[in-house]
Symmetry: C2
Subunit: 168 residues, 2 copies
């Protein structure tokens, strides 16, 4: 088993595009509604959950905190639907994703999402389970409920990736 | 035009049941996932957006603050889909709803949602536009996009309802 350092980058729409959506007001379509009393930042992510009789559900995830060094030893993906995380707590969090390489995740890529910025993993995108930082954090999650098997997990067989600092 | 005082009640699942879901962890199905590092409060609301080719979208609403006296002069509803509001800001907000009486809203009913509690208006439920309190507040909103006319508004013709205090 070898250990490989994993650096953390600031999340960006361009850097994350291969994995899904960055959920943020910046760059979003802004509609002024309710006689001007509400700004609607419209349609921030591609909710893709209808395959094989699925539907969108809304849940709240409460994540225990992690702190460096953080070891990434496995990944998971949801073959039947997208999964959106938006932080309710006013805190940054880590997202770790990977490209698919012949049915297995490639080397992970880590991004820091600042407070007020979420992510939406595209259907079948390899990602690490939730990584809150320093404090217990709540997230609103929009994902899929329905028939079929919607979870695949993979343990890296001979490498562990280690995040030694989270300053993106 | 007559003015009628409107009292504010604390929101509860039973009190709000005729209008939709209270979105909260209390009483929710709890699943421990991610090797125990995440609590998943599962499926907190009935997302009902598929009529006539609709789909679920996620937006962020930024609401300007209101303060008593707050006058309720109109209501709106969405005939084709539910609409969920979950507060991202650590603040309470007001929800004002009404039963339907022959195609028009009856007298409004006002509820105070504490921080960390949201609501999901059932399809075609009369409700007032967003009422943040005291500070600008952000909400994650899950509602419907798709073909068809999904907004109906109604101005109360001879009555205005006035909220003089928001302590629920």
């Amino acid at each position: 088993m070898k250990t490989v350092p994993l650096t953390v980058r600031p999340v960006s729409k361009s850097g994350f595009a291969a994995f899904g959506d960055v959920v943020e007001t910046q760059g979003a379509e802004l509609r002024l509604i309710n006689q001007g009393s509400t700004e609607r930042f419209h349609d921030l992510a591609s909710i893709d959950v209808l395959d094989e009789g699925g539907k969108a559900i809304v849940s709240l995830f409460r994540g225990q905190p992690f702190a460096p060094p953080i070891e990434i030893t496995m990944m998971e993906r949801h073959p039947l639907g997208s999964q959106l995380f938006y932080p309710v707590s006013d805190r940054p969090f880590l997202t770790v994703v990977a490209s698919d390489e012949g049915g297995r995740p490639g080397a992970p890529v880590a991004f820091l999402c600042p407070a007020g910025v979420g992510v939406n993993y595209a259907k079948n995108t390899w990602h690490h389970p939730l990584l809150s930082l320093e404090e217990v954090c709540d997230f609103i999650v929009v994902d899929r409920d329905g028939p079929g098997s919607n979870l695949e997990e993979y343990d890296y067989p001979d490498t562990r990736y280690r995040i030694d600092a989270v300053s993106g």
